[in-house]
Every structure is written in C-alpha cells, then in structure tokens.
C-alpha cells in the first residue's frame, strides 16, 4: 500500500479540489483503482469540499428557476448506467448489515426460496478475448451512457469465456445473464418480467459473504425487455440477485429475491 505521505497519494487534496492537470487527474484515477484507502479518502474529502461550497450559497435570481426547470423539461435524461464504477469507490462496506440471508454465502437447499429457483442451461460461446478497458471517470460523464454500455457489452460478448445463464423469475418472466469471468463483467437482461406498480421497481444486487451491494434499478421494460444492464468488476464468489423494491431504490434488500443467479467462481 502506498505510504500516505508520498507518491500519488499526496495529490488527494489537490485532486478533490480540481487543482490538478488533466493528465494528473487521469493518473490519479488510475491509482485510485488499486488503492482502497485512497478511494475512502476521496469520498470523505469530497464531503468536506461540498461543505465549502454550501457555506457560500447565494440565492439565485428567481427567474433562473423557471428557466432551468423548463430547460430540464426539454432535456432527455440519461438511462441508469450500471457500470459499477462506484462500487470501486469503497462502496459495499455499508451494506454488511443486511437481512440475515445476506450474511452468509447462499447455499442451494439452505433456504426454501433458493430451491425454487430454476437455473437455465449455460451456453458457451468462444470468441476472442479483449482487454477490459473502461476507465474510471470521476465525472462519470466523459462517454455517454450508451457508449460505455456498448463498450462493456462488446467486451463481455467478445470474451472467450462468455457464458449465458437463464433463470426463471419467481414472479414471472426470465432473467438472462451473459457473463465473462475473465472480463469480470456481466450483462443482465430481463424478459417478460411482471409489470410493477409505479411505486415499485426491480433492483439488482451483488451478493457476497460480506453482504449485498446495490447494483442499480432495472429501467422499465421496453417491448418486454428490461435492460441490458452491465455489471463490472465482479469479484469471485459474488452472486446476482434481484428484488422488488420501492421505486426510489433501497440501500439494502427489503424482500427475498425474485431471482438469484449463481455466477460460479
């Protein structure tokens, strides 16, 4: 681990305050990928920096409000991006105290609802492996969501160890997971999932012995298909689960999964 006084880590304050060059930013973000302590520091220092901004709050001219709201009404929103960049940033720790079924690795047969899950057959396609190249962008905005997603999907599909898993969703429909262990990534697609009232939505989770990490909310289905959602940086032993949650999303699962996909290891 990097000593805190020297090396790239000394740049953490300047980085958080945007006082670095573009090249330094890129190189620091590369360093962040391999330094959990740094990610945690960045998180905390960003909170502190935000307070500096809030301390200088000044009321905008009233007419700006309507202008901005109208501009928003004319602006299309980006779909959820489920590249798990943020899991990299020290996430997950918070979720350790989830419901009991999350505390230990799930074993088939250990719980009745597990036994009900039907896991589909695996299909293995052999294509050339590619290097997984999504880089962490602190703004999360340098590539469009679609570009990032397409890159990630292409990476998974291009991996020589690509595997397709299909599982029935207990409340209706199927879940298809196309994954590559080598790329440590998967693509999730829901088919014919039961429509939920607007107050609810499907939420995906990665489960590990340490607990459940939220992956993201599944967008409403289009023509029967929900997704695709891309999940990156899988760790060995993680399983994918989907639960029905309030539409605003939950920080930890509040109900039993409607599907659980064993990703193998």
């Amino acid at each position: 681990m990097q000593a805190r006084g020297a090396g790239p880590h000394a740049l953490v304050g300047a980085y958080v305050m945007d006082a670095v060059t573009e090249a330094e930013r890129t190189s620091f973000e590369r360093h962040l990928l391999s330094c959990e302590q740094c990610r945690e520091d960045v998180r905390g220092l960003r909170e502190a920096a935000a307070r500096l901004a809030e301390a200088e709050a000044i009321p905008p001219r009233p007419e700006l409000r309507e202008q901005t709201l109208q501009a928003a009404a004319r602006t299309r929103q980006q779909p959820p991006l489920v590249v798990s960049q943020n899991r990299q940033l020290g996430a997950g720790r918070r979720w350790r105290n989830g419901p009991r079924w999350l505390q230990r690795p799930a074993r088939v047969g250990a719980r009745p609802w597990l036994a009900r899950l039907a896991l589909g057959a695996a299909v293995v396609l052999a294509i050339t492996a590619t290097v997984f190249g999504l880089h962490l962008s602190s703004m999360q905005g340098k590539l469009t969501a679609a570009e990032q997603r397409d890159t990630a999907i292409a990476t998974v599909l291009g991996a020589h160890d690509v595997t397709t898993l299909t599982a029935k969703v207990t409340t209706g429909g199927t879940a298809t997971v196309v994954m590559s262990h080598r790329a440590r990534a998967l693509v999730f697609i829901g088919n014919g999932l039961t429509r939920l009232p607007t107050s609810q939505a499907y939420e995906l989770w990665l489960m590990s012995p340490a607990g459940a990490t939220p992956v993201g909310m599944l967008p409403p289905a289009r023509r029967g298909m929900s997704g695709p959602m891309v999940v990156n940086r899988l760790r060995p032993g993680e399983q994918l689960a989907m639960t029905v949650e309030p539409a605003t999303g939950a920080r930890r699962p509040t109900s039993s999964p409607v599907v659980l996909v064993f990703l193998g290891s």
């Binding site: 006082a19 220092l45 301390a55 409000r65 709201l69 929103q77 980006q78 602190s138």
Partner: protein, 214 residues
C-alpha cells in the same frame, strides 16, 4: 438541529401535491442544501425517474450552493449563472447514475459544480486575466465569504477554516474558492509545489474532521 429524513420527505410530498407550482416550496429559515440524511438522495432518485416536482425541490436545495461556488470561482455573475444552470441540467440528465454508496448527493452535485466552474475558468480565461486574478488573489477568501456571511453553515465552515494553519487555509481556499491549480497556488504563495500538495491534503482532512463529515 439537522432536519430529519421524514421532514424532508414531507416537504417533498407537499411540493408534489402543489402540482407544478413555482417558488415557495422552501422555507427561508431552513438551511439550503443541507437536508436530513438521505433526503437529497431520495429526491435525486425521484429526479432520475423524470419527476419534475422532485427536480423543483432539488433546484431549491442545491442551486444556491452551486451558484455560490460558481460565483466564487468565476466571479462574473452572468457566467456564474450560466454555470449554475448547466450544472443543474447536468444533474437532471445524469441523476440515474448517482450512486449513494459512493458519497452523498450533495457531494456529488458540488463535485460536478466545482469541476464545471474550474473547467470554464481554465478553458476561457486569457493569460492577461489570469495575471490580474493572481494579483488580487490574496483578497479572494474574505471577499468571497461576504456573500453568504449570515448562514449558520457559513459560520461553521469559517470556524473550521480558522482552525487550519495559514498555509493550509490559503492552499485550500485558493484551490477551492479560487479555482487555482496547486502549481499556481505554489507560485502565488511562494512555496514549493510539494508543500502545497500536502497542505491541501492536510487542510482538507482537518476540515473534514472539524466538520464531522461522516
């Protein structure tokens, strides 16, 4: 006292029921952009679904601080307003990508805001202007702080800034409020680049601890 989460959601429901009415959702005595734990996160999650009532609430809570930091970095009122609107629109567009496990909604929004303001400074500022700014940089801290002098949050942050060493405080305020790079700060303060880097880090850490950031 920090407003509880339920206070924030009640307020949100109130605005929602108002069904598209304009200003007046935000009581003036409530500290701007410091909702109860999780409040802004919930609102952001609603915004991500295209809920414009939620976006109104978000605007009322976040716009003042976004404008504040833009004004502090850019100085020019018209440009600051532009940046504020750009940032709020960016938050609207990207709200579905916000991940609460990576930090608070407020930190996310202010990160976007500060970055946008600094980018604007760096891309647009001519060399002559920069020199002029450098010449007047020493007054940046006091001048900027006048704008929001009366808020409790301002006083709290100011108190914590006062607890920093002079070099830490100057490094942090020139970088954050002034939008200077650490190399520029080193030059302005006449100290080594490496020193400024560590003062920025140590200053922010001390600030974080003083403010009791989680």
């Amino acid at each position: 006292m920090v407003p509880s989460q339920s206070v924030v959601s009640d307020e949100y429901r109130g605005v929602d029921m108002a069904g598209g009415d304009h200003a007046g959702g935000t009581p003036e005595d409530r500290p701007v952009s410091r909702p109860g734990q999780g409040g802004l996160e919930l609102i952001l999650a609603q915004v991500a679904k295209g809920d414009d009532a939620a976006f109104r609430v978000l605007y009322d809570q976040a716009a003042p601080a976004v404008l504040g930091i833009a004004r502090s970095v850019l100085r020019d009122p018209a440009q600051s307003e532009e940046v504020m609107q750009e940032v709020l629109l960016e938050i609207w567009r990207m709200s579905a990508r916000f991940d609460p496990s990576a930090g608070s909604a407020s930190a996310w929004i202010m990160t976007v805001a500060h970055r946008r303001a600094v980018d604007r400074v760096r891309s647009e500022q001519r060399a002559a202007e920069r020199e002029l700014r450098a010449a007047t940089a020493s007054i940046a801290y006091d001048e900027v702080s006048d704008a929001a002098m009366t808020s409790l949050e301002h006083q709290r942050v100011r108190r914590c800034l006062d607890g920093l060493t002079d070099l830490q405080r100057e490094s942090v305020t020139l970088a954050y409020y002034g939008g200077y790079s650490y190399r520029e700060v080193a030059q302005l303060l006449g100290v080594a680049v490496g020193t400024v880097k560590t003062r920025m880090r140590d200053g922010l850490i001390r600030l974080r601890d003083c403010l009791g950031v989680e």
